[in-house]
């Protein structure tokens, strides 16, 4: 069972560190990189997008938004799954993210377990 390669776009270092540790401990996922701005994310995806299996995107970034990242990924027609992890998982945000090609949208506060479960299933599949 190959290890999934994940890329995280998150501007909060505390969450980022914890998320990386959690995913790598609980699931068969290897976080291969992370950035905190839209521009960096788009550049990284452009260069290494095809080597990735999963991209986890936060909506609010220190520069730009996750929506921009999603739009860029959609435009690149990446194979990697994109999921959104946000504090603002309102119906509207979910709708827009889904429209931009996000597979799932998880609430940062209440749906972390769901995210982990989703990653587990993805890695096992």
């Amino acid at each position: 069972m190959p290890t999934l390669r994940a890329f995280i776009v998150e501007d909060n270092p505390v969450i980022l560190g914890n998320l990386v540790a959690t995913l790598e401990e609980l699931t068969n996922i290897k976080v291969v990189g992370s950035v905190s701005t839209e521009a960096d994310a788009v550049r990284e995806l452009d260069e290494h997008g095809n080597d990735l299996d999963l991209v986890i995107v936060d909506v609010f970034l220190s520069g730009g938004t996750g929506l921009g990242v999603l739009a860029a990924a959609q435009k690149m027609q990446l194979d990697a799954r994109r999921v959104v992890l946000t504090n603002f998982a309102t119906p509207e945000v979910r709708r827009r993210c889904t429209a931009l090609g996000a597979a799932e949208v998880f609430d940062k506060s209440n749906e972390l377990d769901a995210l982990i479960d989703y990653c587990e299933k993805l890695a096992e599949a």
Binding site: I15, L19, A21, T22, L26, N87, S109, D113
Partner: protein, 460 residues
């Protein structure tokens, strides 16, 4: 040496004169002086009147005195005639005529003297010579009458034919003429005095008229200038009020902006820092929960921690949402207001009926309307004691109208200070977008807060 207030040197003397007039007009001695002038004028006029009256009656008296003097002289002649007639006829009838004539002559003389005394109030004219001559004359004719009575007609005729009585008559005529001339001289003095008094009166009346005209002119000019100054003062005051209002609005706008910035800052801090910590704790819990063989007690405690953690997250979200409506940023005004109404309805425990139509406004005007709705709903929770709340948002011609209405106890807008209910802050916010805020309320009639913002507002 131009005064500081006079820009043109050539105008300085005129202005100085004018200002000294005004200074005199404002002086504390002005009124006494005016009264004194008026009294002097009246005195001059009265004196002229008295002079005229005196001169006029003296004139009449003098004329009468002339008539009476002539009459006296004529009666004296008659006295002589009757005396001679008696001497010739010895008729007792002629004697009584003689006596009557003497009596009349004495009366005429007395009234002539009285008239002269009327002219000559100073008693400077002596009538003694006339008196003496008349006495002599009458005594002489009386002697003739007495002689005839004694039967001595010849000596009587001789006496009557003598020139002595004629001489006395001439002397009397001269004496009368003398007295009348003196009286005329006195009267001339009185006339001269009258002319002077009339001249003085004329001058005084002209002066008074001139002074009155000048005074009225100055008074009227002063009034006009006062009006002008008041108008200018009013204009200056209005200008100042406008400036101050502008300053206050600017300051209030600044405060509103500063408050909004501060809220944004706190919200970001809460979101980034506290949010990160809470999410990390949740991740830790997720990891812990997946550890194998956890004792049930630990699972129980972990569940409790997670519950508290979720409550903390919810609290943080609510605070952030209050501070900085992310929904507004993300979803637009209508949905943000929808969420706000739903949440406030839950918080107030009352139904909030929202009727919201799509409108087009810039971000900062949207935030203002959102804040007004928020503030109004908070006020309703604090004061209104209502059963229902209605929120309406709609585009009305060229403006957007937001109204928040309740059916609560209301209040008297006149008696609520501007500070209360945050009305002033709301008003300033609306006005900074070129809009208008109105609050309609009356005790027992509920409250409606309406904000109108022009769609083409020059948003800031």
């Amino acid at each position: 040496m131009p005064l500081p207030s006079t820009p043109q040197p050539s105008a300085a003397p005129v202005n100085r004169l004018r200002s000294s007039f005004e200074m005199a007009a404002r002086g504390r001695y002005t009124m006494p002086i005016v009264i004194a002038l008026g009294l002097v004028g009246m005195a001059v006029n009265e004196s002229a009147y008295q002079h005229s009256q005196n001169a006029l009656s003296s004139d009449i008296a003098l004329t009468d005195a002339r008539v009476k003097s002539a009459e006296t002289l004529q009666l004296l002649t008659e006295v002589g005639l009757y005396a001679r007639s008696y001497i010739l006829t010895a008729e007792p009838q002629e004697a009584s005529r003689y006596h009557a004539a003497v009596q009349q002559m004495q009366e005429a003389k007395a009234s002539a003297f009285a008239l002269v005394a009327q002219v000559d109030t100073q008693r400077s004219i002596s009538v003694a010579p006339i008196e003496r001559l008349i006495v002599q004359h009458v005594r002489a004719t009386d002697d003739w009458i007495a002689m005839v009575g004694r039967g001595e007609r010849a000596p009587a005729i001789a006496a009557a034919a003598g020139s002595a009585s004629l001489a006395r008559r001439d002397a009397l005529r001269q004496a009368f003429a003398q007295v009348l001339a003196e009286a005329a001289a006195v009267q001339q003095v009185a006339r001269d005095n009258l002319y002077r008094a009339l001249m003085l009166n004329r001058v005084a009346v002209h002066l008074l008229a001139l002074v009155t005209m000048l005074g009225l002119f100055l008074f009227q000019r002063q009034l006009r200038r006062g009006d002008q100054q008041m108008a200018q003062e009013g204009q200056r005051l209005a200008e100042r009020v406008r400036e101050r209002t502008a300053e206050l609005t600017e300051m209030a706008t600044h405060l509103v902006n500063a408050r909004e910035d501060e809220r944004n800052h706190i919200a970001r801090e809460l979101h980034d820092e506290l949010g990160g910590l809470l999410t990390s704790m949740k991740l830790d819990l997720a990891r812990l929960r997946r550890l194998p063989d956890l004792p049930p007690k630990v699972t129980e405690r972990m569940l409790s921690i997670e519950t508290r953690l979720n409550e903390g997250i919810a609290l943080k979200r609510r605070i952030i949402e209050d501070l900085q409506p992310s929904a507004l940023k993300q979803l637009g005004l209508v949905q943000a207001l929808e969420i706000l109404c739903r949440e406030m309805g839950e918080r107030l425990g009352k139904p909030v009926q929202a009727e919201l139509h799509d409108v087009t406004l810039d971000k900062s005007a949207e935030l203002t309307l959102y804040r007004i709705c928020q503030e109004s709903l908070t006020n309703i929770g604090k004061y209104a004691r209502c059963r229902q709340v209605w929120v309406r948002l709609l585009a009305d011609n060229d403006q957007v109208r937001l109204s928040v209405r309740d059916d609560g106890q209301g209040f008297d807008p006149q008696q609520v200070s501007h500070g209360r209910h945050g009305l002033l802050g709301m008003r300033v916010r609306v006005e900074s977008h070129g809009g208008h805020l109105s609050v309609d309320s009356a005790p027992g009639a509920g409250t409606t807060v309406t904000a109108r913002i022009p769609i083409s507002a020059p948003g800031n």
